[in-house]
Symmetry: C2
Subunit: 456 residues, 2 copies
């Protein structure tokens, strides 16, 4: 990959917004990052090319606006994008929503899932997301029979991310039971490998030939209701120092059933099984006891909040700040893709905490921006900052739109004013993957892919 | 005003989405509304002009996408737009936020407020808002002395709405005390007329010469803390069959102080003073007793929810559905303009109720769309529907953006997928006031007007 350089009008570098940051990129990494770079380098004004050239091939492209590091979407079920605006029309609970989600899950095959995931990941790229953590459990044919390639669905997701130009942590998910002590049924047949050992064997195949530069292979325990207690250590062992994610305590009913079955909370169950730790991410972590928060924090387990989904599904408001105080770093995800907008997830984390406490100011904008750009829970420890040696991601926000104008063009603009629609330019690993003009085409691809899912 | 016509690809007409709706407009009103109009009228294909012509002067303009009636922003403090991305950086409470808001209030004069309100109302037009309810209390000079024209600030707001092309209900607000039994101080000096009688006299002057077609003159009681009990009947009498709005029970502290002072809740106080009824709107209505809900519902008092502000200020989640069941129609407002996006307010009403109850499906999309387009609480009973005889407002949403593609292009798209940035064309009273290309200029005007407020 050839080198390139950008002059960023304003950029989030080393914990503050700096002006006129010149960045140079070689082989997908930043080789220099120079605030005030316009005057201090040899890149004369004359060599600047206009930002309207979204794929610069030479010279220095100037990016007006506020540029932040790439956003990490740490919890995604790509196929849920087909449900936006559709399941919302129903009443009921999380559990009736799940029936609708299962109906879509039952209709996908590797080709239609590739197209849907590709379009969904393009929407993510357009929202400034440079890495997706795909919590992937749609493994097999509708009756549970493996595809000829038992990892066909996983390969489709990896290929979709490559075509969209973003990185992926494929969190291959172990799902064995349809509830505490219940077999899998209906759409769940597609999810199950039968045993944790069989899951481990399949995922070892998936990782067998190594991973391209844009892929991390990670693991997931779907939930304590979908993986029996005795199977959990097998998953933990197979995760082998790589990311391990798990849905945790999203619903009170799940907590109650766990306590009724095992006599402990889901967090305690995972703790006892050795599943917690700094490589583990607890997704949702909504309904926790004080002891749960202690265990998650003291093991440095990460907490991935997905507030727009948690609103949509009526999950409730989790204790994001208490987890932070206890030692659990925050990450964010768009999960069901009712919205794909990590700016909204950032502010929703703070605003929902305000609703719960009737106090303001739990999270600073800088902390929330840190949470949204933290890539280490997805295994990309070398991304998430505009700094020499890091993967060269640049997400540029237009600071002159009706949403953002007059808001200070700093981290508060990013967190409290911007929306995904304000993103005008995105670079991933040194490659320009999105410019504002691409939105129209992305909309067409989404409509086509989702149309196929619903209309066959 | 000359006539015009539009062919709407899809439109919300008479409680459902219809295809190919031909609307004809004369003198700012719909004269015909014909679903399936493309084939059943004499407007041949050949006479259609492209939607890219945002200000058609002849022929029929085709508007692709989903067109809904104009949105009514029933609670606005225009000058708060200057605080977006600025107060959010602070910790504290509603009350510390108020100190920052007062600092901006102290710096405005009729010229700077005109420019700020004009830009803010342009942002509203770009978000599909066709009428603003401006809860206006910034009346006098910084030391409390009236301007030479004591209604100079109100006139500035009316002129700003006219230039932005939207209608305004100027809710001239009575504000007499800085708290229960406390005089006004600092920025509050600008708000007070000294007595309800003096307020009534000034507002009578304001209304004296009648109102242009885009203006309704209404009244407001700032709150039970800012208008002593004995003064309330004077305001109610002066409201004379026109809209009367009031901030109600936004904060627990206000409720507690009201009970401590008068022995009754704010709702009971207003009820006893004769201030409730179908022309009254209770803004926020967050912390209510069962008796409060009964009184508001049985008097058919409207409830204006502002959920994005109520999140931002940590107010809490009000009982929107219980009020509806009791008889209080819902309206919506963007209030502090942390966000100007009534699509977000619509879904936030439902989603926050889900957070509070852990159940889904309290409000249907159709009900929420009805709430957001209801204009009668602002005195424009003849707006808010695409129907013959009504004011000709058309708000067109692009249904092919990354946010909206594949979501069904119906009322669920509007409520659960669209954002203000998806609005591509807006007609108010038959005049095209916004097309997507205008966003850039609106951003510039916001930046200039807000820059003047902060930098002098």
């Amino acid at each position: 990959m050839s080198g390139s350089s950008y002059l960023l009008e304003r950029a989030w570098v080393d914990g503050a917004v700096r002006d006129d940051v010149l960045v140079e990129i070689q082989d997908g990494r930043f080789t220099s990052v120079t605030p005030g770079g316009q005057s201090s380098t040899s890149s004369a004004e004359a060599s600047l090319v206009d930002v309207q050239a979204p794929r610069p091939t030479g010279g220095t492209a100037r990016l007006p606006g506020l540029t932040i590091p790439g956003l990490a979407n740490c919890h995604s079920h790509a196929f849920h994008r087909a449900l936006r605006g559709r399941t919302q029309r129903e009443r009921g609970t999380f559990w009736t929503w799940r029936e609708q989600m299962y109906a879509v899950a039952g209709r996908l095959d590797p080709d239609t899932y590739f197209a849907l995931a590709r379009a969904t990941y393009l929407e993510m790229a357009a929202a400034g997301i440079t890495t997706v953590g795909e919590f992937h459990y749609l493994h097999h044919q509708p009756d549970g029979t493996p595809y000829d390639d038992p990892n066909a669905m996983g390969h489709a997701l990896v290929a979709a991310a490559a075509e969209a130009g973003i990185r992926i942590a494929l969190l291959d998910t172990c799902y064995l039971s349809g509830g505490f002590g219940r077999p899998v049924e209906t759409a769940q047949l597609r999810y199950s490998d039968g045993s944790a050992a069989a899951w481990a064997s399949r995922t070892a195949q998936l990782r067998g030939s190594g991973a391209p530069d844009h892929v991390v292979h990670g693991s997931a325990i779907h939930s304590v209701r979908a993986v029996p207690r005795d199977e959990i250590p097998t998953v933990v062992a197979a995760a082998e120092g790589r990311p391990l994610h798990v849905h945790l305590s999203e619903q009170v009913a799940e907590n109650d059933a766990c306590v009724a079955t095992y006599g402990v909370t889901p967090t305690q169950l995972l703790h006892d099984a050795g599943a917690l730790g700094p490589l583990t991410t607890a997704v949702h972590a909504t309904h926790l006891t004080g002891a749960d928060i202690f265990h998650l924090g003291s093991t440095r387990t990460r907490a991935c909040f997905c507030p727009t989904t948690e609103r949509d599904l009526g999950d409730g408001i989790g204790p994001s700040r208490a987890l932070h105080h206890a030692g659990s770093p925050l990450t964010l995800g768009s999960d069901s893709h009712a919205v794909i907008d990590l700016f909204e997830e950032m502010r929703a984390t703070e605003l929902d905490e305000r609703l719960a406490t009737q106090q303001r100011g739990h999270w600073t904008a800088a902390e929330l921006l840190g949470a949204a750009t933290a890539h280490d829970s997805l295994g990309f420890d070398d991304a998430g900052a505009i700094a020499v040696g890091r993967r060269a991601d640049l997400v540029t926000i237009d600071t002159s739109t009706p949403s953002t104008a007059g808001t200070g063009a700093d981290e508060n603009t990013a967190v409290f004013a911007a929306t995904a629609a304000d993103v005008v330019h995105v670079v991933v690993d040194g490659r320009a993957v999105f410019a504002a003009d691409d939105r129209e085409q992305i909309g067409l691809e989404l409509a086509a892919a989702i149309g196929k899912v619903h209309d066959g």
